[in-house]
């Protein structure tokens, strides 16, 4: 099996599931940020709760290797907040913008165009950022179990607990 074909098939299923999950809609994403419609949170949390168990199970048996991205504090926090701000205006993240086109929301094209521009802009800014924000405190490729010195399964149990609390709250509030 060719890796490009594998990627395409995986993406196809991912797009299909996002469509079925109802997360490819501007209204749903903005209303999630306004706490009026938590559909995307339900989707993300359900995926995380299931995925975390399976990934850890595979990692324990060394069938996969986990791949943590560096906890570069400035980059993650500033980048994350910037993303959030842009997201609240754009109404899509990169994956859902592409998926939204598949559901007919052609206005997502402008978001995608902007994202391509933003990526090119970042490439220009990278040397400057390398000497500034990216050079601040970096904890490296860190997993929560290692950071806390506890078993990953304990972390997963806590994740499940927190996730269920959030989902029950969403249903209770009918959002």
């Amino acid at each position: 099996m060719d890796e490009l074909l594998l990627g395409a098939m995986t993406g196809f299923l991912f797009g299909f599931l996002m469509q079925k999950g109802g997360v490819l809609r501007f209204d749903r994403q903005i209303n999630a940020l306004l706490f009026k419609d938590m559909t995307i949170v339900k989707f993300i949390l359900s995926a995380i709760l299931v995925g975390s168990v399976g990934l850890q199970w595979l990692a324990d048996r060394e069938l996969i290797t986990l791949s943590h991205k560096a906890m570069n504090v400035g980059a993650v926090v500033i980048g994350g907040l910037l993303f959030g701000g842009g997201w609240a205006v754009a109404g899509f993240c990169p994956g859902t913008a592409v998926g939204a086109l598949g559901e007919g929301h052609w206005h997502a094209l402008f978001v995608i165009a902007g994202m391509l521009f933003g990526a090119a802009l970042y490439a220009e800014a990278f040397p400057f950022l390398t000497d500034t924000v990216l050079a601040w405190k970096d904890f490296g490729k860190l997993g929560l179990p290692q950071a806390l010195g506890v078993s990953p399964w304990l972390c997963i149990a806590v994740l499940w607990g927190a996730g269920i609390v959030v989902l029950v709250w969403c249903e209770h509030k009918r959002v």
Binding site: L4, A8, T10, G11, F12, F14, G15, L17, M18, Q19, K20, G21, V23, L33, F35, K42, F43, I44, S46, A47, G51, S52, G54, L55, Q56, L58, S67, H68, K69, N72, A75, V76, I78, G79, G80, L81, F83, G84, G86, W87, A90, G91, P94, A100, G102, E103, W106, F110, M115, L116, F117, G118, A119, A120, L121, Y122, A123, F126, A147, P152
Partner: protein
Amino acid sequence: MYSKQSNQKWRPYVAGALAGLLAIGSAYATAKVMGKTAYLGTSTTFVRAAGMIEQKVWPERVAANAYFQKEKVKVDWQFMLVCGIFFGALAGSLIGREFEWDGMPSVWAKRFGPNPLFRAVCAFAGGAVAMFGARLADGCPSGHGLSGVMQLSVSGLAATACFFLGGVWVAKKIYRKGGRYG
């Protein structure tokens, strides 16, 4: 049997759980096929696509750019994943008869009016800021929010928290005035 409404209620949970299974299966399959575990993500592809477009008009700049060198401007597994997302979503919406040409989101129009040029400009600007932030954070909600948190990565948890903090704050600010047009 089930009312249409309760069917709809379960969709994000079922689809989300299946997406979790997909992430697991994909990790296993990529480790087997590529010898390297790959995780769901999308924002790096935008860097590569931007590089491909820029290469057409300004190839020397792309070749000399450290970031494009780092991320490599090429069609790879993730690039095909992003392309696949479009077709999967298309298939899903056609099969479920939910495909609908839509040029203006209603939540936006209710707040800011139906001017398509204004929407286009804001969509572009929002997308640019979002992607800049995602690249700085080295991931988007798929990469950090799904894959990162699933792996219990500290960066994934922190990034996702910041995505939502930033998003909630800005959304509250700009939608505070409510439906002036609705």
